[in-house]
């Protein structure tokens, strides 16, 4: 069990104030200095990404670099959109992300519920949970080549289906692993009460456990979606033209197009912005999902 105290715990001693003492002042300086540096380290590159996408070539290639320029422009975006079927690739990313997330969360939470609650024969609970963990840990590259061959033989190369199946497979163990933790937190007596009230496993799952686990499901879905949206290795391997997702298009700029930084960063913004907005909107759940693996127990 985690050392979770019901008191909203602040590490009181470390942060306590000795009013007007020198050490308190210098501690505050150190603390805010650290925070300021970290903020700069994150924000300056991010600002660079966004601002470059609105610069002209003379400005973004200028030496020394120019932070602010006089003539902001949308030219990068205009060229990007006019020369590429970006809407199509954007849609690819959306469809692949949503479909694989829905699949992974559905299949994964059903399996996780079973692993958390059913007493399976042959010690299968532990074995399957361990298998899921291994599947999450092993390097995907290890299956890349046969995976490519299988998809090719199934004539699924360069289709959205190939990516949907792939990302579902990536996220399934992850969903199972996270959801087992959440489902085990649902008090067993609740389900016993539901059994007495006449519920079978299906009803207990849909009427009691799922509604209670809403936030956990959301957290898990978000993490899965981010992973699918950002995935690159299999996307670049399994698609050519039709089913390309945004990261693949992005990587294409590196090899083909040299120094078209305005377009590259514009595409970067288009790729990153949806996932950032989405993530910040649901940050609470995101943090919960991310920290579960390490902080729980």
């Amino acid at each position: 069990m985690a050392a979770v105290s019901s008191v909203p715990a602040r590490p009181a001693a470390r942060s306590r104030r000795r009013p007007s003492s020198v050490s308190a002042v210098s501690w505050g300086l150190l603390r805010w200095g650290t925070i300021a540096l970290a903020l700069l380290a994150v924000l300056v590159p991010f600002f660079w990404l966004v601002s470059t996408s609105f610069k002209r070539e003379v400005d973004y290639l200028a030496d020394p670099p120019r932070f602010l320029v006089e003539n902001w422009t949308l030219a990068g975006y205009e060229t990007l959109f006019s020369r590429n079927d970006l809407g199509h690739f954007f849609l690819n990313s959306v469809v692949v992300t949503l479909a694989s997330t829905a699949l992974a969360v559905t299949l994964g939470s059903l399996a996780a519920y079973t692993l958390a609650r059913a007493r399976l024969p042959f010690k299968l609970n532990g074995a399957l949970a361990f298998w899921m963990l291994l599947t999450r840990m092993y390097p995907a590259i290890a299956t890349a080549i046969p995976y490519f061959l299988i998809i090719r033989d199934l004539q699924l190369l360069d289709t959205r289906w190939a990516l949907i199946v792939t990302y579902t497979a990536f996220n399934l163990p992850f969903v199972v692993w996270l959801m087992i933790g959440f489902f085990e937190e649902v008090p067993a007596e609740l389900e016993r009460a539901a059994m007495i009230d006449g519920c079978g496993a299906w009803q207990r799952f849909t009427r009691i456990v799922l509604p209670i686990s809403g936030p956990a499901l959301v957290a898990t879905a978000i993490l899965s979606a981010i992973l699918a949206w950002n995935e690159f290795l299999f996307a670049v391997m399994l698609t050519r033209t039709e089913a390309k997702t945004l990261p693949v298009v992005m990587a294409g700029f590196i090899t083909d197009k040299g120094m078209l930084w305005d377009q590259m960063t514009a595409l970067g913004v288009v790729t990153v912005l949806p996932v950032l907005l989405f993530a910040l909107a649901v940050q609470r759940y995101l943090v919960r999902g991310l920290t579960l693996g390490a902080v729980k127990e």
Binding site: P187, M195, G198, R207
Partner: protein
């Protein structure tokens, strides 16, 4: 309405035997309490009856029908849990009606039954709240209501009062008794609290380490405990146990121990001279004599505890601190020398080896 019978029921968890060879019959309409210290197998027994745990051996019959393998949902029972186990995402109304809904009852019928149960428990104005908006006592009522709505043939309650504060617990205890008197349904009630067991039950089964020690009405168990465990478990403050040996006295056999001698109870022919016994003395059976000089059981008061309606005083005797119940107006004070007497027929004698009663 239902009768229940346990036939040589055992439950093992790995090497731990949680319940051993339990045989117990509960009559139709009876209020039966399973009582014992924590971990003695009460909940396990109840869960097996509910169908939440499988039996390892033996058979459970409800209305003379074997229910082994029958899922909980088909046993037509209702259960109240110690943690209440209210569905946190449902309103009180939905909590109460959930079982009926699962069983496919009509909406109107459900609403009527929910309203009736809510009125019975005085929670009609809470129906639209969520469990987290309720106090402990209110949650407890909702948990009860959820069982009542079902109109089951059997109520199972697992420590339903344990999470309430002391005052509310006593109040709910009385309400529970009134409620189930009215319903006339069979109730199996689990508690670790001997006062609840004594006050609520038609009959009580006392458990220790997975084994039933004695079954009977509260007063039978109190007056004629079968062994030291039962004797010590019921009553507050508990019975004091003194080690003694049977000896000859002027007026017949005496029970002599370290610093005391008491007249032995009848029938005395069971007692052999020199036989070691354990003497059990209840606090309320002791007669205090202020005339300690030359008294066969002389001691001095070490502690006085006013309880309000009575006063408990403690004095060392036979290597133990013996509890004595006195009037609340007593002027006994620490240090006062006293003599202790017990009417022979109020003494309980036990075998020091087995702990079994020698009185029966």
């Amino acid at each position: 309405m239902a009768s229940v019978e346990f036939v040589h029921v055992s439950k093992r968890y790995g090497r731990v035997e949680a319940v051993s060879d339990l045989s117990l019959r509960i009559a139709d309409g009876e209020f039966m309490t399973l009582v014992g210290p924590s971990g003695c197998g009460k909940s396990t027994t109840l869960n097996m009856l509910a169908g939440l745990d499988e039996v390892s051996a033996g058979e459970i019959l409800i209305d003379d029908e074997a229910v082994t393998g029958m899922p909980a949902s088909e046993r037509d029972i209702a259960m109240v849990f110690q943690s209440y186990a209210l569905y946190p995402h449902m309103s009180v109304r939905d909590n109460l009606g959930f079982a009926l809904k699962v069983h496919g009852e009509a909406k109107a019928a459900i609403a009527a039954k929910v309203d009736r149960a809510a009125a019975m428990l005085g929670i009609a104005d809470l129906l639209d709240r969520k469990p987290r908006q309720l106090s402990g006592g209110q949650r407890q009522r909702v948990a009860l209501g959820r069982a009542l709505v079902r109109e089951p043939r059997l109520f199972l309650l697992d420590e339903p009062l344990s999470n309430l504060d002391a005052k509310l617990r006593v109040q709910m205890r009385a309400e529970l008794r009134l409620l189930f008197d009215r319903l006339e349904t069979t109730v199996v009630f689990v508690t670790h609290d001997q006062a609840e067991a004594m006050t609520l039950s038609d009959r009580v089964a006392i458990f220790d380490r997975g084994v039933v020690q004695q079954v009977g009405t509260p007063m039978e168990l109190y007056d004629a405990p079968a062994n030291t465990f039962v004797a010590g478990f019921l009553g507050s403050p508990p019975m004091t146990f003194l080690e003694a040996t049977v000896a000859d006295g002027a007026a017949g056999p005496m029970l002599a121990g370290e610093g005391f001698a008491l007249a032995a109870p009848a029938p005395r022919d069971r007692l052999r001279r020199g036989q070691p016994v354990v003497v059990g003395i209840r606090p309320e059976d002791i007669e205090v004599s202020r005339d300690a000089a030359g008294h066969p059981a002389a001691t001095a008061i070490s502690l006085v505890e006013p309880m309000g309606s009575t006063t408990i005083v403690y004095a060392p005797l036979g290597g133990k601190l013996i509890a004595i119940e006195t009037d609340k107006g007593t002027d006994l004070a620490p240090g006062d020398p006293i003599g202790i007497g017990v009417p022979p027929d109020r003494l309980h004698l036990f075998d020091p080896e087995t702990g079994r009663s020698l009185s029966a």
